[in-house]
């Protein structure tokens, strides 16, 4: 009985993620349009695009292998899994202990490897170019992300995300200077990983600058829909991760229906503000040249290491 109900709750969390992710992307696009003085697209645009793409037929290149066809499903599954591992509605869900922070980074890496392989599979120039750039950004962003997780792990003495969030959420009056550093580093990594503006532009199709778009040029129909949805889920997972690590208040540690409802409300509220801030950052900053991206991510790595050092200096008992 206990097991069945927790499974249902996990399912609810997954469905919430699947439904909220396109909404979050739509919200960020809307905010960006407002900030740029354009008339904003409706919030439901992303859902309609997905529906349209699912109805269209898939056009495959003649030399596309089975890897090319399997990749969208693998990527989508990876991103759906990460969205369920990150504690969003409660820290006491069954999939929470299934993977810790390091495994989470591994799942993100798995999805990245598959999207890069699929991009190179057909053999177009753009695919290989995008794959190379994606791997460049990925291999620089990953250590920084791990360092951020290590800082949070040092504070809570555990690499399990549920424990980290529970520990951080409990002590409300403590200010962690290290987490301030880690927060800045995480924001930079999240912008880079989700193909947002300082590193990549999600709306561009200009061949010289695109990274993520270059990799998925060959996809169409339901494959493209799955990949777009997976990208939205990745953004959602990263946002929830950031909120869980740096603003953990409002995530309950039990699974009572009322606390889950409150958690959902606070999550939507926090995501709305986070999305607005993301749009603000994107509007205020210019896209970096691709060769400046290592510097950007190097700064993120440095900040994450500083966070660890500051934690060791200021926050350990002597």
């Amino acid at each position: 009985m206990q097991f069945a109900s927790s499974l249902i709750l996990q399912f609810v969390e997954l469905v919430t993620a699947l439904l909220l992710a396109p909404l979050l992307t739509g919200w960020i696009n809307q905010c960006r349009a407002w900030l740029a003085n354009r008339s904003a697209p409706p919030l439901t645009l992303f859902y309609r695009q997905l529906a349209k793409l699912f109805e269209k037929e898939v056009v495959l290149a003649a030399n596309a292998s089975s890897l090319f066809r399997a990749a969208p499903y693998i990527i989508f599954a990876c991103m759906a899994l990460t969205a369920t591992i990150v504690p969003t509605l409660s820290t006491a869900l069954p999939l929470g202990p299934a993977a810790d922070a390091i495994a989470l980074v591994g799942i993100f890496a798995l999805a990245r490897v598959f999207i890069a392989l699929a991009a190179m599979d057909v053999g177009t120039a753009f695919g290989s170019l995008g794959a190379r750039r994606e791997m460049l950004v990925g291999f620089l962003a990953e250590p920084a992300l791990l360092m951020v997780f290590f800082t949070a792990s040092l504070i809570s003495r555990s690499t399990s995300l549920s424990t980290i969030v529970a520990t951080l959420g409990r002590s409300e009056l403590t200010i962690y200077p290290s987490l301030a550093f880690a927060g800045v580093a995480f924001t930079m990594v999240a912008l880079a990983e989700n193909a947002r503006i300082p590193v990549d532009n999600p709306t561009t199709h200009l061949e010289l600058t695109m990274i993520h778009e270059a990799m998925i040029l060959e996809y169409s129909g339901r494959h493209l829909a799955l990949i777009e949805w997976a990208a939205a889920l990745k953004l959602y997972a990263y946002s929830c991760l950031g909120l869980a690590l740096f603003f953990p208040w409002g995530i309950p540690q039990d699974t009572a229906p009322t606390s889950l409802g409150l958690a959902a409300l606070s999550l939507i509220f926090k995501l709305a503000i986070g999305g607005l801030l993301t749009a603000l950052i994107e509007t205020l900053s210019a896209k970096l040249r691709i060769f400046r991206a290592p510097e950007f991510l190097g700064t993120a790595f440095m900040l994450a290491v500083l966070a660890m050092l500051v934690h060791l200096l200021l926050e350990t008992a002597k």
């Binding site: 040092l154 504070i155 003495r157 520990t167 409990r170 002590s171 009056l173 403590t174 200010i175 962690y176 200077p177 290290s178 301030a180 550093f181 800045v184 290592p294 510097e295 190097g298 700064t299 440095m302 900040l303 290491v305 500083l306 050092l309 500051v310 934690h311 060791l312 200096l313 200021l314 926050e315 350990t316 008992a317 002597k318």
Partner: protein, 224 residues
């Protein structure tokens, strides 16, 4: 909570401000534009003022209020104003050239931070103040400003590095011993101000002689 000792809220806030001070030092190290560099220096002064005022309030050390006030007037308003005026009159808006590229500088800076944190650990164990753990950060700020003075080839960023080093020293004094005696503090404040004015004159002289503010021209100075 296992790791974090139960510090009072003001001490935690001071720790946070100290961390921001370190962050600003790194931002200065990685900054390419002179105007942003001055603004960062101003922000550093503001953080220093806030932390000094907070220490004064927390420990009832009245002379620290004066130090905080001097910091506010000198480092948040006067010096940035002079610097802004200087670069406007010198017309130096170009990007800063560094001797080592910026990511490498950052990595060296990281090493320096580890070094100074280690160096400060035994010293801060001797100090009896509430801020003793921030001594490492103060030393790191001094080291990073040093690094900035070494890696920049133009005169204005070097002067900003020098001023930022003074910020670090001031913070070290506050964190280790609740500030220096008033006379010393006033003396240093005046020194910095006069130094700034003299260096301002120097800038014009250097530029007049070499048509550039790159101090490497000074190496070619010969008596003939």
């Amino acid at each position: 909570m296992s790791g974090y000792p139960a510090l009072p809220v003001y001490a935690q806030t001071i720790n946070l401000l100290a961390a921001i001070l370190l962050l600003l030092s790194f931002a200065m190290l990685g900054q390419r534009r002179i105007i942003s560099l001055i603004n960062l220096f101003m922000a550093q002064g503001a953080v220093l003022f806030a932390s000094t005022a907070l220490v004064a309030a927390a420990t009832n050390q009245h002379h620290l209020y004066w130090s905080a006030l001097i910091t506010l007037v000198l480092k948040v308003f006067l010096l940035p104003w002079i610097l802004h005026r200087l670069i406007r009159r010198l017309n130096v808006k170009w990007d800063i050239e560094t001797l080592i590229n910026i990511p490498t500088t950052m990595m060296i800076g990281l090493m320096l931070v580890i070094f100074s944190f280690n160096l400060a650990l035994p010293i801060s164990a001797l100090a009896g103040t509430i801020l003793r753990s921030t001594l490492g950060i103060a030393m790191a700020v001094v080291m990073l400003s040093f690094l900035m003075m070494i890696t920049r080839s133009k005169a204005v960023p070097q002067v900003i590095g020098f001023l930022s080093m003074e910020n670090g020293l001031f913070f070290a004094a506050t964190s280790a011993t609740y500030g220096m005696p008033m006379v010393v503090e006033l003396g240093i404040a005046l020194d910095v101000l006069v130094g700034m004015v003299i260096l301002g004159v120097f800038f014009f002289q250097i530029r007049e002689q070499f048509d550039s503010l790159d101090i490497h021209h000074l190496e070619k100075l010969k008596e003939d």
